[in-house]
């Protein structure tokens, strides 16, 4: 599989991509996951068109904790806001945080993994010790202590890149605490790629280390990075939702986790307001499951393990 990516001829690459896509779409799980992801991406792309601007306490349109009705398809929350409105806007927050955190995580993980694998020796030993630390310490636990401290240092207030500071901190912290297993996988792939002849060839013609890593090794890692990236997104959603649930999110930009936190504080579970806690939870579940399914399908497609004939 990776051989076909090594060869740069655009026609063979196009053919490889085509056969890859048809294989991937052959997975029922991947179809379901992709469909679901497209749905949520549309939601998060144009929430204002679909449900109007985010409702606040001041612009709330309904009564308190009203069950679903034709007016409020998913009912209302404890201050009369429309839950559908909140959930659709929450999609944007949750997905953006998870995707950006994943980008950070993949960049860090890939850089550490390639560097450790390519240079080997002492660099490898120390980078892997660092990786070990992040591997055994769950992202959630690290984020739990780092986030409040960083927030305290920065102070709440101004937005960064359109994010309220707490969300920005959360996404950065998730990103820098969840790269360890990507680094491990990338490292082991790099180790085996390093031994291949085309790397020697690049070295002989005088390519620099950086250019070998970026031009020759990185393209071959794309399959692994993609498959694991999907799993990292699922993990990021989990961590973000949990952190927000514990009150580290931002009520002015409520993600699904923040909505669940608000629902918990409003006693939604004990008063039986199932719609209030049901919708954000199901959304988090659906998106996270979709990424897992797509990730598994990618992994299956890239690494066909089952031998059909002995």
């Amino acid at each position: 599989m990776s051989e076909s990516i090594v060869r740069y001829s655009s026609r063979s690459r196009a053919r490889a991509i085509k056969s890859f896509l048809s294989n991937l779409l052959g997975h029922a799980g991947a179809q379901l996951g992709l469909l679901c992801l497209v749905f949520f991406l549309v939601l998060s792309a144009v929430p204002n068109i679909l449900v109007g601007p985010l409702e606040t306490v001041a612009t709330a349109t309904g009564d308190f904790l009203v069950p679903p009705s034709s007016q409020h398809l998913l009912g209302t929350d404890e201050v009369g806001r429309d839950v559908l409105n909140l959930v659709v806007h929450g999609a944007r927050i949750s997905l953006t945080i998870a995707l950006l955190a994943t980008v950070i995580s993949l960049v860090v993980g890939t850089t550490v993994g390639i560097t450790a694998g390519y240079y080997g020796g002492r660099v490898d030993v120390w980078l892997m010790r660092l990786t070990d630390f992040f591997f055994v310490m769950p992202s959630f636990v690290l984020a739990l202590v780092i986030t409040p401290v960083v927030l305290e240092v920065m102070g709440r207030g101004r937005e960064i890149l359109g994010f309220r500071p707490s969300l920005f901190v959360i996404l950065v912290v998730i990103g820098i605490t969840s790269w360890a297993f990507v680094a491990r996988i990338v490292r082991s792939q790099t180790l085996s790629l390093k031994e291949r002849t085309f790397i020697d060839r690049a070295r002989v013609v005088g390519s620099s280390n950086l250019s070998i890593m970026v031009r020759h090794i990185l393209p071959n890692l794309v399959p692994q990075i993609a498959a694991n990236g999907a799993l990292v997104v699922a993990g990021a959603i989990y961590v973000e939702t949990s952190l927000s649930f514990l009150g580290l999110g931002d009520p002015l930009q409520p993600s699904w986790g923040t909505l669940l936190s608000l629902a918990q504080r409003a006693g939604a579970a004990s008063t039986g307001a199932w719609w209030y806690l049901g919708a954000p939870g199901l959304c988090a579940l659906a998106v996270s499951l979709s990424f897992v399914l797509v990730g598994n399908a990618l992994d299956d497609t890239f690494n066909p393990r089952q031998r059909v004939i002995p």
Partner: protein, 332 residues
């Protein structure tokens, strides 16, 4: 030969210990650094919490008393490390004057009960179900178990907890939805245990269900790998029945990777338990974490982080040792 084996074993355990030491020292360093970067004077914070004013003389006196006037490195960090090693985790902001170690110690049993029971149930159900699904890959059990597990795996456990409360507490009234004991009249000891177990049911179910999802997935993967191994073909050629093949050859080999995976998972179990405790107002470490977060009670938060770090590292050590016993290839 024997000498070499002995040496190999020693160096392996040595490596394991070095890794554990490095992880622990990074946890301690992170704790130390995070605590120092918080704006505001620690002495002022400790004396008055973040929001009260205390006279400058008292703060200065306290600074000297606590050695805060000395350089951060190496004096303060060494003090910190030595205090930590002696079990001194400082004082809580929120619960004024209470030792962090006492607070954690009080809350620990409730979490151990919750996590321990959930872990036990999840291992029994999840691992067995997963191994069976992997053994009969593609069968009906496999499909159903795998579908359900992936869904459970993707579900935040606290949301599962909330759903359980809505269904089994609010709607059906079968189990209490929060707390550890029913409030009110003093009752007999057997009733008290029953009451406790009834309160434990939903939190344990919430944590365990999430774990079952994970364990089914990993156990199935481990078993699917074993099923395609050559020694399974040998076992079949020997004329063993399916049951004999499963119990004598597949089971132990499939358990090998699971030992590591399940122990590595401890951090995630506790992480899940923290949010579930928040849902049920369960008076454990998770409840304490939420209280500390809301009050920005950093000493308590650091103490909890240290506790989690130590337990995770200890679990990893155990896993490494257990693996060495289970797998003769490592034992050598």
């Amino acid at each position: 030969m024997a000498g070499n084996a002995q040496e190999g074993r020693t160096s392996r355990i040595g490596n394991v210990l070095i890794r554990a030491a490095i992880t622990l020292s990074m946890v301690a360093t992170l704790n130390f650094v995070l605590f120092r970067v918080i704006p505001g004077d620690p002495a002022a914070l400790l004396l008055g919490g973040a929001r009260m004013s205390v006279s400058a003389e008292r703060i200065e006196a306290q600074r000297q008393n606590w050695g805060l006037d000395r350089p951060l490195f190496p004096d303060q960090i060494l003090d910190y490390l030595s205090a930590t090693l002696h079990g001194d985790l400082g004082y809580s902001f929120k619960f004024r004057g209470r030792l962090v170690s006492d607070l954690i110690w009080e809350r620990l049993p409730a979490t151990i009960a919750l996590v321990g029971l959930a872990q036990l149930i999840a291992m029994l159900c999840g691992v067995m179900l997963g191994l069976y699904a992997g053994w009969r890959r593609g069968g009906a059990v496999d499909r159903i178990a795998m579908g359900a597990s992936l869904a459970l795996y993707s579900t935040p456990s606290f949301w599962l907890a909330m759903v359980l409360v809505v269904i089994f507490s609010t709607a059906l009234g079968w189990f209490p939805g929060y707390g550890i004991y029913s409030p009110g009249a003093s009752i007999g000891s057997t009733d008290k245990i029953l009451d406790y177990l009834r309160h434990l049911a939903l939190p344990v179910a919430a944590v365990a269900l999430g774990l079952i999802g994970q364990y089914v997935v990993v156990a199935r993967a481990a078993m699917s790998d074993v099923v395609t191994e050559d020694y399974m073909v040998t076992a079949r050629a020997k004329g063993l029945t399916n049951g004999q093949m499963l119990m004598r050859h597949a089971f132990r080999n499939a358990m090998l990777p699971l030992v590591t995976l399940i122990t590595l998972n401890l951090g995630y179990v506790v992480a899940g338990a923290i949010t579930v405790e928040a849902v049920f107002a369960w008076p454990g470490i998770g409840g304490l974490t939420v209280e500390a977060l809301n009050a920005r009670d950093y000493p308590v938060l650091q103490g909890i982080f240290l506790l989690l770090g130590v337990s995770i590292v200890a679990a990893n050590l155990l896993a490494d040792l257990a693996y060495g016993i289970l797998d003769p290839r490592i034992r050598q």
